[in-house]
Amino acid sequence: MEKILTKKALPQWVKTLTSYKVYFPKKDQENRWNYLEVGAEDMNLDFLNTTLPPKKLLFPQNEVFLEFFESTDGNQETLEVKEILPGEEPTVIFGVRPCDARAAWLLDKVFSGDFTDPYYWKRRNQTILVGLGCDTPPWENCFCLSVEGSPYSEEGLDILLTDLGNRYLVKSLTENGAKLIQPGKALFQEANPEDQKKAKTIQAESVKKIKRQLKNARGISAKLKGMFDSNIWDEESMSCIRCGICTYLCPSCHCFDINDEVDSTSPLEGKRVRTWDTCQFPDFTMHSSGHNPRPEKASRLRQRLFHKFRYFVENYDKFQCVGCGRCISLCPVGIDIIKVLDKVNEHGT
């Protein structure tokens, strides 16, 4: 079902969502956007895209699994362990870009399957994603089309908004979406055919505005097969500084590390915490023996691309890349995943 909501009415709608924690993109003084809980004045969606994807709300950078305390009586030591699960906290995120929602949809696959991750799903199930289609690409490096996404893709979203100037075309995609509209339904009108037609044209136009393109994405995973030992990894990674930007800011990267963060060794007290980790850090695959199967940054860049364009495709028949372009725009030394993959296209067989 498609409805119309005037931009003026948006804050009023949000006010009806009393039982939810509501996030909107907010701009800081350096023009960077970030999803925050905001006041009515900031409840608008005229934004580009956030530096940190909404991933941070579904798969937070640190997640406490459990807490432990040791108590000792003479030689008798007992270790108490308390599991911590995310609390009940229905959440709505407004202004999720389709690519980022698509990434969430990919994460769903990662955190389910043989093993279902209770921490992720607890959050995922109570979070509603209200998407905003991209009439113009938020970054100059957007390339969602090349990786089977689009400025108006719907995967992972509960609601998709299309900006019609002073109004939004509101398309509810899931039950959750419908549920969200309920409390403020008075504010919505039925969408008429002109509105839908206008939306169609806007969406068609937007596709043309995307400048960057990755050629032959599907072909790449086959080509990568033969390129494990290629020297292009050395060349392309020469300028890599082994920081975590490309992966930490990636909406679909999901590698993590689990540490016991000990607050006191005696009596033993601390938490077991999951934190983001990245294949770009030198210690990512460090063995306790000191051996590191990915000793230098070439192998780390290779791993990043292999994971996104080969292993993930083999496992899920999807790219683990949604073409948001963050890793290109934010890399301090301008490493460009599209350029690297073009090279793969050239060299690969």
């Binding site: 000792t72 030591e77 005696s266």
Partner: protein, 648 residues
Amino acid sequence: MKRTGVFICHCGINIAGTVDVKKVAQELSQHPGVVHAEDYVYMCSDPGQNLIIQAIKNKKLDHVVVACCSPNLHETTFRNASTAAGLNAFRCEIANIREQCSWVHKDKSKATQKATKIIKSTVEKVRRNESLEPLSVPVTRRAMVVGGGIAGIQAALDLANSGFEVILVERSPSIGGHMIQLSETFPTLDCSQCILTPKMVEVSKHPKVRLMTYSEVEEVSGYVGNFKVKILKKPTYVDKDKCNLCDECSIVCPVVVPNEFDLGLTGRRAIYIPFPQAIPASYTLDIKACPGLLPIACGKCADVCDAKAIDYDMKPQVLEEEVGAIIVATGYDLYDKENMAEYGYGKIPDVLDGLQFERLCSASGPTKGQILRPSDQKEPKEVVFIQCSGSRDPENHCAYCSKICCMYTIKHAMLYKHHVHDGQAYIFYIDIRSGGKGYEEFVQRAVEEDGVLYLRGKVSKIFEENGKVKVWGVDTLTGKPIEIDADMVVLAQAMRPSKGAQELAKKLKLALDKDGFLSEAHPKLRPVESVTSGMFLAGAAQAPKDIPEAVAQASGAAAKAITILSQERLFHAPTVAKVFTNLCTGCGMCVQVCPYDAITLKDGKVEINEVLCEGCGTCSATCLRSAIQVKNLSQNQVHEMINACLGG
């Protein structure tokens, strides 16, 4: 899991009075890794130590913490106990809950809490200690004594007589120091030269002693038991073996300069023998005074020397020696009269300082023992002695008491009366400090038998007026102003560290106190050790002293040196720095900060010389990557101690 044992001492009520030792023991027994915790009234007692030994054996303890007094007191005791039970000494640590807890707090519950934290943090430290064995190094079994005064001579003799080789370094041409300048000594009034010269001869003839006069220490490196010293031997230009003391050279020498030995009361030639009994008995050519070494410049002395002892081509030599211990006995100098504005800046000829007056009294002195005033060689009838001249005067001069002035001034007054029976001696004093065997009696004797007149007060002004030295002062007892037309004034000048002592201290890395005297390691318990191990102090170099004290300290220093020299090998604390080579990037910052040059850079990584390292840890705080740390006080250990201190 480590098996740590904790032993809490009551120290009678010293600890138990403010710390609930039972509760502490209870708490500690709950502490992870602690398998035994008990308290006892006196842990340092034999039964106490046995408790520890038994517990180590029965409970198979691998680490021990004794909570008691300061580690400075009983660390050794308890480490020995641990070793007796088969535990490495470094697996025992002391938690100081007396000096730093029970003695400084009143609130029992809070003191108990704090004691618990101190002990817990010590437990966390000790359980991370590694077993270490002391490092040992061979000892060079010879000593160097710097300074050839009475203290240096005594120390050298004691060492030599104990069978150790000694190098005695004296910067002036003869040994003897200031004592050889004195006429008589208090309180016995026996002749200074008569008692000193035999010792000078003994030391010079001693087979184990190598006398190096007219020499100075250039450089000292190395460490206790293994010092390397460079000694500069200045040329005397006279071959002392050839010289037959005929004195012809000095007779023909055209240059006359003030005679140091007589403190300028007489002159000497450029080529001279400091005094008749000088040792070595030989002439020295004072190059600063000599018109020039080339025969064309002068050369008279060489011409008249039948013994052909004079050698203008003699060059300075630098000798390198290895010694195991060093005794510093560089003595004192008197505070210059020139500093005494109120006493005429030392410009008035008949205002003398103590040492000059000694020379006047001395039979070998300029006046052959008669007391005559320098200005007109007349016998002074009224002599004023002024004590504390430059001493005990923080505003203008030296803050400290020079200690010996009271006594020698009395002696001077007495000697004066013995020479000039109808003369009058006045002594201005602040108060009389006559602590010492027979000293007080000596003072009484001066007053009763020799009618020395004591005036309590300070002299405000001294000036010359028609052939007299006018002395203005106040008698602070009567409050009356005093005016004396004296014939001579003798100033008991303050004692200062001898000139050049400071430079020497730098070369030896010795610390100086605020007055420039050499610092002892501990004012009470280690009065003859210096702060640098293997170096000892004797005589007035450390503080003003009279002869018996200087001699006593010299013997003490010798004995201390012998404790090192008598060893085959020396043992060095093994808690030294260690390098984590794989983290070291070879930036060399640690090399720069190490006070002992114990770290060296070798192909991109640093190395420790464990014998030179004193374990101060400055390197580890400097290293940006924690690649260098001190054994048994690693950053990890401190980290855990911090944790324990703040826990609860």
